[in-house]
Amino acid sequence: MKRLRDAALWAVPLAFYVWMFWYGSRSWFHQDDFAWLGQGMHIATWRDFMEALFVPRAQGTIRPWSERLFFIAFYEWFGLDHRPYHVWVALTQVANLILLQSIMLRLTGSRLAAVAAPVIWLCNVGLATPLSWLSAYNQVLCAFFLLCSFRLLLAERWRWQWVVFLLGFGALEINVVYPALAAGYCLLFARQHLRRALWMFPASGVYTLIHFAVAAKPAEGPYAQHWGQSMVSTYLDYGATMLGGGLVRPGWNLPQESWRWVAAVLAAALVYLAVMAWRQGERLPAFGVLWFSAVIAPVLPLRDHIMDYYLAIPAIGLAMMLGWLLTRWRVAALVVIGVHILFSVPVSRMTTRWRFERGYTARALVEGMERANELHPGKLILLTGVNSDVFWSGFFDRPARLFGLTQVYLAPGSAEAIDRHEDLGDVSQYICSTVTAARALSDGKAVVYRFDGARLHNITRSFYRNLPPGSLKMRPEMVEVGQEAFERDLGEGWYAPDGGWRWMGKRAEVMLAAPSKAGQKLYVKGYCPERWLDQPIELTVWGAGWKLGSVSITRASASFEYTFDLPPELVGLPEMKVTLEVDRTNRPAEDPRELGLTFGQLGLR
């Protein structure tokens, strides 16, 4: 009977997990997921594989287990079936819940505290995103490595603790805080082991040096680091969000900021109780505060990138503290936990439901594009009805390339519906120009679909009929020089296209739309093999007869992108002839042509 009761107690957090994340555990891929899913497309050799695992990406992150191997392996095995991915995330989280329960049982000896801590952790808003969005799996996996290392410390399995700690660096950078957690525990509970904990700091130090060597250090934008007083307010913001939920559930008719008042009251109560406990010789509440503070510390410099999911692991500290309080001051603990849950759970459920719905919409769009590509192979696919949320969650990361579709764009006129996020990328690259759409439709090489949130509707015919008169006669703002569709915009001096690029001779011409407003620039993207650049090649560019500038192509700029100012006199012209000229050409032995530079794109920006 006792064994049955114990088993039931172990199962309580798991059942609560299923209830809390019923929607989140079924959400389809969205946002960054598509970027991670596409990692395997460029892997052909072991070397590619190792590079895919360990070369720094995004903001210089190296997370081979949680973002690289996880997505590469699961995409290879299961493709776009999201269920196995979520099963894996759930297995990891179940392990986390069991570890936390085991840790609390060890620290407090109380079954009640051991069951309560994982349940309280699950209620926190910090877990809503990691358990509902696959790209945030790094938080779940990092929690696993930290909890597992810590459990091994409690069991005094020193070697295994080291192994798990070191492996944890492959999940998330936050793993660097583990020595602080271990040392904090030893200081509070087991000073005889403090020296062992201190030995782990050098490992974290080395990792930190490597990380700072490869990480991007943007001076502005959301990932800019702000070391200073702002870290205190960021710390307090995270603490308040963890306690009060970060917002008030719509429909509660409470003041918008009332969650902050709740958080302040809860924080005051917890500080008071922690001080009382300390005076009585109880150290676990202090360890909970230490856990929260240490784990949130690495993200405090990111003042402009406050994310709820950064609380996923720090919230374990709060769960430990509240779990322990239940064993000592039950009434006070129940009040604090009750108020915390009252504000946190609705927000968590709302977040996980929102993720589910976002995934549902992204799935409808992606499967629609896949089906359209199957029905109209090789055609340009244009989409209308894609709003800002759908764009950023199901289009921006180019999910269509997963099934080989690269020619998919938003239809002309879609830009107004999309909110700009300059730090994420340039929306204009995703929108087809009117002239390109008109030409492709006229040639029968494009189809147009309207997205209604659940399906794509083919509206090719009506869209074509409603294009502005004269669309076919217009010049494009951007010419993909190597694409056949733009051949009619090329003047003299070009050779046949070559894999999306096109070589010029000594001089070449392109016809473009003239700038529509002052301040627009001419953008050119090209390339020259380094072996031809022992001496620089001088490229000179003219627009409608005006010399726009000259640049030197050297070994350092063999793959180049340049912009040139356009004189205001060109604004309003019907079209503009751009002339490119190089000061010397090359004639390779294997190619009889006289080659200047090769170009991919040329147009207005």
């Binding site: 392996a73 493709g79 894996w88 297995l91 089906r371 359209a372 679909y449 083919n458 090719t460 015919r461």
Partner: protein, 174 residues
């Protein structure tokens, strides 16, 4: 811990054997109905399904030679079932065939009812316009036929029977 490690290993191995082919979702798109246009460009390949008979291949991406009789299907324009409509035929009579075809008469038939003929009295680009009664414009689509009273017979410098050089046919609201 050992149990957990075993569970992870088993899940990993099981996953390795689950590689599956992906099928697209047939319900993910709703394809365009074969909606008829009320006016068509005969050279536009999207309108080619509305050319029923009597047209040769597209030439210079802009027009087609017709035969002596040719037919298209068109959708009646909005409110035409109440007000009627105007049928327009945009065509050209090239100088090269003017000797034989100048003065040719074009007689359209809408839903089986013949309209008043149009006589071609000059060479070059022109437009023939016909009034169509609302009685002939009921339903989703109507068949419009054109009858020429003469044409260039095959073998007279061209193996095809040649009527007019047509670029566009359509209804306009009245």
């Amino acid at each position: 811990m050992r149990g957990l490690a075993a569970l992870v290993l088993v899940a990993g191995l099981a996953g390795g054997g689950c590689k599956r082919a992906r099928h697209t979702n047939p319900g993910a798109t709703i394809e365009e109905q074969t909606e008829l246009a009320s006016a068509i460009s005969v050279a536009d390949r999207r309108d080619s399904s509305q050319l029923l008979s009597g047209f040769h291949e597209v030439e210079q991406g802009a027009w087609r030679w017709t035969m002596k009789e040719f037919a298209v299907s068109l959708a009646p324009p909005p409110e035409s079932a109440i007000k009627g409509a105007r049928l327009e035929l945009e065509f050209s009579l090239p100088q090269a065939v003017a000797g034989k075809l100048l003065g040719v008469s074009i007689t359209p038939s809408v839903s089986g009812v013949r309209l008043k003929p149009f006589k071609v009295e000059r060479v070059g680009d022109q437009k023939a316009s016909f009034d169509v009664s609302y009685e002939q414009l009921r339903g989703e689509a109507v068949i419009v036929q054109f009858f020429l009273d003469r044409a260039m017979a095959p073998g007279d410098g061209d193996s095809r029977e040649l009527g007019l050089v047509v670029s566009r046919i359509g209804f306009l609201p009245r």
